[in-house]
Symmetry: C2
């Protein structure tokens, strides 16, 4: 059965049934004209929105509906994590092609609901409509942070060290494997991890919240369009340049194998990357005690120092002791279709 066979009201009822019960903060949940929410006392609201568009951000050929639902929320949680906010609520706006199967719509919502439940996020409301083109899943998410505790990308200062959570390149390598139908490669566990990073990214929620609470980072942003882009944007917003040590950048093991096995330059591919959803941080050296305190409590993913913000406005990638041109990052209108 397709969504157009079922009709909007019945589809809405089926999708709402997939959601966990909203938290106590939700005074009016889905089903009214708008949601009503009681924010925490003396809290600051953190709000973001990000959309997944079929054949731009995912392909239904290699991501399941549950993957798509998970990812649509995860990319928003990643933005909240980069601000150090505790995620609380989400609004979900869905545009379905009329022929989209009802089962798939339900699975999509279950994928989203599973991640929401794991992070204590209430789906407070949303909207369903028809799309004459691609499936579009647009999420707006809200979180809370204490006054003056949030992490902005403009807070960095020259001399701050640049730190990166986890490893980059995995999602990009995973996407390349899927595009190349590299079935044999995908059977290796390391390479399979790359597929997961493309299909079901994890947002670094615990890390971002701990960094903000511990006042352990001066600037942060999430690495959604590649590390090269993130460093450029954080440095620019902070009025600095940056120097990154290419050899220090942690690359997902499977991605390293994938590119090395094809004779490609591992560092260039990983740094251009995309969809890493790690956190890039600017941290003064003298805050290392605070940082240690955070890392003792949030042990995964590991943090790695990859460079520093500089007074000179240039961006420099150092490889084998030599300065190299900065790689270009991902732009949504410029790159070949993902």
């Amino acid at each position: 059965m397709t969504v157009s066979d079922l009709g909007e009201h019945a589809l809405l009822a089926r999708l709402l049934a997939r959601l966990p019960r909203p938290g106590a903060q939700i005074l009016v949940g889905p089903g009214d004209d708008a949601a009503v929410i009681e924010p925490g006392r003396r809290t600051r609201l953190v709000l973001t929105t990000d959309a997944l568009v079929e054949d731009v951000h995912f392909s239904s050929a290699w991501s399941s509906p549950a993957d798509i639902g998970h990812k649509a929320l995860a990319v928003n949680l990643s933005d909240l994590a980069a601000m150090g906010a505790v995620p609380r609520w989400a609004l979900v706006s869905l545009a379905f092609p009329p022929t989209y199967p009802v089962d798939a719509a339900e699975a999509l919502m279950s994928g989203l609901a599973g991640l929401a439940a794991a992070h204590g996020v209430s789906v407070a409301g949303g909207n369903i409509t028809r799309s004459p083109g691609p499936l579009v899943v647009d999420v707006a998410a809200g979180g809370e942070v204490s006054p003056r505790k949030w992490l902005s990308r403009s807070g960095g200062k020259a001399g701050d060290e640049l730190w990166l959570s986890g490893a980059v390149g995995g999602a990009r390598a995973g996407l390349e494997m899927l595009r190349d139908h590299a079935a044999a490669a995908m059977e290796s566990p390391g390479l399979a991890a790359c597929l997961s990073r493309h299909r079901r990214p994890e947002a670094r929620v615990r890390l971002g919240v701990a960094l903000a609470r511990g006042s352990a980072a001066r600037a942060a942003m999430d690495v959604s369009d590649g590390l090269a882009d993130a460093v450029r944007q954080l440095a620019h917003a902070s009025g600095c340049g940056a120097r990154v040590d290419a050899e220090a950048v942690p690359v997902e093991a499977g991605a390293r194998d994938w590119w090395a096995g094809r004779g490609q330059d591992v560092v260039s591919a990983a740094v251009a990357g995309g969809e890493d959803y790690e956190l890039l941080l600017a941290i003064p050296r003298r805050w290392s005690g605070r940082l240690r305190h955070v890392v003792q409590r949030v042990t995964r993913p590991a943090l790695t120092r990859i460079g520093a913000l500089t007074r000179e406005k240039e961006l420099v990638l150092v490889r084998n002791g030599e300065a190299h041109a900065w790689p270009s990052g991902f732009e949504h209108f410029r790159e070949p279709q993902a």
Copy 2:
């Protein structure tokens, strides 16, 4: 020049330049991973989301980019108005076809920004991406309401009178004129008003806020998918039936002329309607003093009593003293393409 010629970062800068300066509540505005907002003290947050999809909710053949931007925000403000919330912030998520002209994208944002400024709404953030299909403008909007003052659609009780703001049918008639290329008809001022109702709906913000502050309505919802649908939903959510006096329903003058001139049943068309963005209210008779107080301060649009909620769960449309079957409302997957 198209959006793909310009690239994502440059397009974003151009669109941000169209926005009014964010209000004092916006501690971090567009350009970071997420917006940071300081809510009012002891406030409740009201959050909603609604998307406009090209060739579903509008046609670029007969709505200008500025119309589309205006409407994308207006439909969200209408949801907030129906809760009695003061609109405060919006997040704007845009998916552009790669060939979309930059001029049009700027005009779209100017249309949205103009309405935002008129209502003191800050565009706190957003997202731009590519669409391999239609233009999609998805807005999430937030407002504030005092504790226990919001208007839900489930608050009605049997015996409450049903009131309607303004007149219905205009947007639907306007859309029919546009589809029929009825250029001559559109030159009459009354019929031109119908086009405006389709292209640039007004949200009943002042009225909704005044009703909530004055505790003058027990239930409210906005009439976005036709009066027939709104009455059904408000009655159902309130656990009631409803009786509506068809002759009492105010129909937009131009719409009346349009349908009468074509030998169509005016009441049926107007009640099925769609895109009216008026408010439907359930108000106990003994609150008439409060209602009068509101109406003295918010004189437009006029309010009209059109029926009542009933203990019996049926929906009854009374015409010439006879009960008629309830007209079906608009559903996004069921109706012919708008």
